[in-house]
Amino acid sequence: MIRRLVLTLLLAAAAAWSLLPLADAGRDPAPGRRTSQVAELDRQAGPIRYGYRPGCLDGFIDRDCLTWRLADTAARHWALPGGGDSLRLSGRFALVGLWEQGVVVVHDLTSGKKSEHPSGKVAVSPDGTTLAHLYERVLTLRPVAGGRSRTVKVGADPVFHGWTGRGVLLTVARRSAEPGRLHRAELIEYSPDGKRMGATPIPSGLAGPLRISPDGRRAAAPGVVLDLATGKVLHTFQADEVAGWLDHSRLVVLRSTRHWVLDPATGTSTPFGPDEAAPGTLVLNDYQ
């Protein structure tokens, strides 16, 4: 009898020890894991703050985990039907790139209307009236409500950033023959009617896509915040990617596999949460 009791207790203790890892599981879920199903986007959605794609469970890629989700200001999450490869949020517009079809679909999230445009880099102006579209070296400024478009031929290898409060911001690089230098890069802004409004030199190595702050005065790239008026670097920080500006002073950045809210002025950061976005898929609305 005692022997049986000892054996039972020994096995019970061993079983409890074996199953301890299960108790730890789920306390800190990996980011980007699908946690719940969400409803399809409808008119009840509030203003959208950010979008993301939930991560696919390893080896199980399905339609749901490839669907873009939008989070509104009431922290409700909605599924944006139709899938897509890239997402940009410009105010009430969601701009979804479909690479295979070679189109960008512009969803008006308020009216539910959709329009298709040729592939390229796109953003809608803060007042929601003008769609900027860059393809190769041609910048097209197209009224959202329809009407006459303006096209501008820009410099070589332009990089599209988006809208400031004044116009559309691009980086253009010029080849340089100076010793120790291959390019000189400039920020160039075009007004909504297609006029070039000035050029600001910036370090050529920082000429990747920038995230413009909601007030249109600064822009962030991985590692730096630039003053758009002078091209000077205001702050440096550690990040793999910049998802966008949370407000006028704080960024959301990706470090390794997690998203963080970062104040670039002080360097302080806190976890962005709930972080359901697969790493690198979080996109903040251009106009918070």
Binding site: W17, A30, H183, G205, G223, T257
Partner: protein, 480 residues
């Protein structure tokens, strides 16, 4: 499930009598019942093991063995339940070889289980493996005890001896397999466990007749426990990088949604979880790496030969000299032979080292203008030239030129002494490119998305790198 026919099969009975050294023509209903029950459950277990093995798309020994032995345990349990409970008897049912085999397996298993508890694995599978080994061990011991109890008949002795023989040999090898799965010791013990199975098969199929004994059965069967401390204290499996006998050839880091796959992994197998994503630099002979510690944020030189980790001064992207004797970080040059650290205040970013000089930049990436400066190993300036500090640049082997690769797809060589552009090419890869390493003095390895290419610096010609280049020439980062 089809049950066994009730009619005794003379051939099977004759085989059993031969194996147990019973008189020819010996028959007893008890023996026939024993043969029916054991054959049924062993068959069920073996079939289950075969199904599991097939589900793994192959024929694997461990599911077959463990399935079969699970059947043995069920059969023996059913037989034991039908027997009357009697006091222990001084009888040796196991042959000396089976006793020795079980004894060794018991010692090894107990040692391995202690080892698992000491290592305290976090993985559920390792813990469940240890639990299964313990459960099987206790089940076998319990059944062996029940077999070594008083009884009267020759046929009962015969079946008990056969049961004990099968339990000791099959149980011994099964517990070792399970415990090894929970506390892996590397490939050699795995091979030994496979050999153990053959030994078990040989011993387990030898005659076992049972004989009177002057001492309890468990005394000789427990002698192998003396092995347990030695097994438990075998030095742990190599911790990441702690025992590198050959130099590290390459490292990978896969960025994905699982926290575990963001670690750097050396040579495809040894994780270095304490290392942050950037920077990560491998010593030229592979005996050390430099990384940023995730916890402290400091640069660390991890020397695999000395098994040491040393905090380094400075920051930024460090670089080794080609002979491996010097290491430069932002503002510092370290002589790895003497351990001396030489401050170089103007060195804001390291471009690379030759065997005689450190080449670096005087301004950060965020500046519009700067200079490319070469310092000798005493920290004296050898040359200065204007340079765009935001351009990604690497020192070309030989130390006289730098290689620049811009996000605009331009690749160029520039003289260190003057900044003069010696060759410039536009790369038409259709994607942004990253520098990965060198394939000789005039051939750079670059990658666009998942393709590793060789760029001939003189002609600008791009060619796809051979498949095994990623393994042997560069450290790389894989994104998924």
């Amino acid at each position: 499930m089809q049950s066994e026919p009730d009619q005794p099969q003379p051939a099977r009975l004759a085989r059993f009598a031969r194996l147990q050294r019973l008189p020819p023509g010996f028959f007893s209903p008890g023996v026939w019942h024993y043969l029916r029950v054991t054959r049924l459950w062993r068959g069920v277990g073996l079939t289950a093991g075969a199904v599991v093995s097939a589900l793994q798309f192959g024929i694997y020994a461990s599911p077959l063995l463990l399935g079969w032995f699970a059947g043995v345990l069920v059969a023996e349990h059913r037989l034991a339940r039908a027997r009357p409970r009697t006091p222990p008897a001084r009888v040796a049912l196991l042959s000396p070889a089976a006793t020795a085999f079980w004894s060794v397996c018991l010692g090894v298993t107990v040692g391995l289980l202690v080892r698992v508890v000491i290592l305290d694995p976090a993985e559920l599978t390792a813990r469940l493996g240890a639990f299964a080994a313990l459960a099987v061990l206790l089940a076998v011991l319990s059944l062996l005890s029940r077999l070594h109890t008083a009884h009267e008949y020759v046929d009962e002795t015969a079946v008990r001896a056969r049961s004990a023989q099968v339990l000791a040999t099959g149980g011994g090898v099964s517990t070792v397999w399970l415990a090894l799965g929970a506390a892996p010791l590397g490939p050699a013990p795995g091979i030994a466990a496979s050999a153990l199975s053959l030994v078990a098969l040989f011993i387990g199929t030898r005659p076992a007749t049972g004989r009177p004994s002057s001492r309890p059965w468990w005394i000789p069967a427990s002698a192998g426990l003396v092995l347990a401390p030695a097994v438990a204290l075998i030095p742990p499996a190599p911790t990441p990088g702690a025992q590198v006998h050959m130099g590290v050839q390459y490292a990978t880091r896969q960025a994905c949604s699982d926290a575990g796959c963001t670690h750097w992994v050396l040579d495809g197998g040894r994780p270095l979880p304490e290392a942050d994503a950037d920077p990560f630099v491998i010593h030229p002979d592979g005996t050390a790496v430099v990384y940023r510690d995730r916890t402290t944020g400091r640069l660390v030189l991890r020397d695999f030969l000395k098994d040491t980790a040393r905090d380094l001064p400075g920051d930024g992207e460090p670089a080794f000299s080609p002979d491996g004797r010097h290491l430069a970080t932002t503002g510092h040059l370290i002589d790895l032979t003497s351990g001396k650290e030489l401050p170089i205040p103007g060195l804001v970013r390291v471009v690379g080292l030759s065997d005689r000089a450190v080449v670096g930049l005087t301004a950060p990436r965020t500046a519009l203008d700067g200079e490319l400066v070469a310092y000798d190993f005493q920290g004296r300036v050898v040359s200065r030239a204007p340079f765009d500090p935001s351009q990604p640049a690497w020192l070309v082997p030989g130390g006289k030129e730098v290689f620049v690769l811009t996000r605009w797809g331009d690749a160029a060589r520039m003289e260190v002494a003057t900044g003069k552009v010696r060759a410039r090419h536009r790369l038409d890869t259709g994607a942004s490119v990253d520098f990965r390493g060198w394939d000789g003095p005039d051939r750079a390895l670059i990658s666009d998305w998942y393709t590793l290419r060789i760029l001939d610096l003189a002609s600008g010609k791009l060619s796809r790198a051979p498949a095994d280049y990623a393994r042997h020439t560069v450290h790389r980062e894989i994104r998924s």
